[in-house]
Symmetry: C3
Subunit: 221 residues, 3 copies
């Protein structure tokens, strides 16, 4: 972790992914708050909440002081995303539904699933723990943003959204267990998460409900 | 903690109670999500959230990495409860109001109040801390499940529900302070919690509001 | 921390501020719950949640067992605030909008911003971390109380409310960085927070929305 800012940001897969995720999620969260006509403080809070809530929860789960409170670089990256959202809001009619925002959201999801898996593996938790921390890191910020925006957070469960992070976490664990180095596992996790997410958006994928499943299996009540 | 799985599960009061609580709460949470027509991923998430949220909060409060992330057995128990709920949903019209679900909920409440009291006592917190951690462990999962289901979580406070866990935590602390071994205190906590809860359901017990109390005491405004 | 109860409570800025904040926030939270006709258990839970949620979150963020669980004095102070609210509810028509409650809320906000800044500084976090922990400590309890009362928590962002704690946290960090002793920084933080809050209430201050800002800057879309 020595060397210049560029080394800190891009010298290892964790830092690179973390940088991308922070800017992307701050942009998405702030865009949603702009749409809801929050004041500037509210826009910044929702953007920073979306960027940091997942990572803070991740760090609490593995019992360490959150990186967001220790690193002065982190908050600057979040504010860059907020500033981008405010700037874009002057140009775009509905910034939170723009393809750019949807793409940034998918990239943030993949980046945070990966950083969650890396931190959980370092902390020595079980295979389930790796997948759980990857998923919580990826979707925790969006869930809190929805709560702050007074939307139901389970919108996460209606779409094929959190499932992408689950699959990414499984990919990280599988590739790592097969003996690949950390960077390869991180790349696999990010590729699976962002790929499945973009396919799910493009083709409108849905998971079946319990009623639909039991009907298909012939177990009608 | 050596020996086979049976010893791990039933060799000490903590493990036995924890097993019962995990299956019961995963069953209750998943049943509620089935009722709301969540997709299968959502059903699993609400079930696992109800089973694990209390215990994760408990472990965070006493500053240790959550057991749910360290033990691979824990997640399997939660998935057993989710599978039971999906299976029952094919047979029962409203699984979340069935007497079986109400009983499972009372048993889970008692089991988690007890495990919360045990962990808090081990962590050396104050008497209030023991009761608080027991209550949070017992009702935290249900509160999160209600939030995910977009119901107000304070439904916990309208019924005689969290109060049962408070009384169970007080019983654990009283019996332990009188010098009884941990197993006796655990049995007292579980018996008080589940007993008071079932009596409250059977007789429709309610606590008075502040207005009612001041009227009874003659302090009308 | 040796000596009698008075020394514990008033011997250092942290303990004095913490005492004031606990009683004030328990009073405010319980008053809101009385207004909503919660039962007595619910009134106590909302009051204690408002008093303790911020401090518990603060302690979790700096990775220590929450003070509320370790100190038996803390819970008594919270119960004093709850009892005050119940007593006042017999005399006042709408206790949660009474000037006394608004003043208590401003004092609690200032007290908890200060204790948050002190704990964060002791934990050695970054300047952003000091401001973030001060703000979360100050507004976390009120946000949880609103959730329990089924009100949207972002009411915090519509008023000039959390902003006061942000300014207080900045004042603490600035005064401390200039070399002043901890007591002076604490006094500056408390004075800025309570002063800005009371001025904001008196003059109805609001922050601009992003739309208003871009209109003023001539960046109409």
């Amino acid at each position: 972790m020595t060397g210049g800012v560029l080394t800190v940001l891009f010298g290892d897969p964790f830092a690179a992914m973390n940088t991308v995720g922070l800017v992307a999620f701050a942009l998405v969260g702030a865009s949603k708050a702009v749409r809801e006509e929050f004041d500037l403080f509210g826009v910044a809070v929702v953007g920073l909440a979306m960027a940091f809530a997942g990572g803070v929860t991740r760090d609490l789960l593995v019992a360490r002081v959150p990186l967001a409170l220790r690193s002065p670089v982190e908050i600057l990256l979040g504010l860059v995303g907020v500033a981008l959202a405010v700037g874009l809001s002057a140009r775009l009619a509905s910034p939170d539904e723009h393809p750019l925002t949807v793409a940034a959201d998918a990239v943030g999801l993949a980046a945070f699933a990966t950083t969650g898996a890396i931190v959980a593996t370092d902390a020595g938790v079980s295979a389930f723990g790796v997948v759980a921390v990857a998923t919580i890191n990826a979707v925790g910020g969006g869930a809190l943003a929805d709560v702050l925006l007074d939307r139901p957070p389970f919108i996460l469960f209606e779409d094929f959204y959190a499932s992408c992070a689950v699959l990414g976490g499984v990919a990280y664990w599988l590739v790592g267990t097969l003996g690949a180095p950390s960077g390869v596992a991180a790349a696999a996790c990010a590729a699976v998460t962002v790929g499945v997410r973009l396919l799910a958006v493009a083709y409108g994928w849905r998971l079946p409900t319990a009623t639909q499943l039991t009907e298909r299996l012939g177990g009608k009540s």
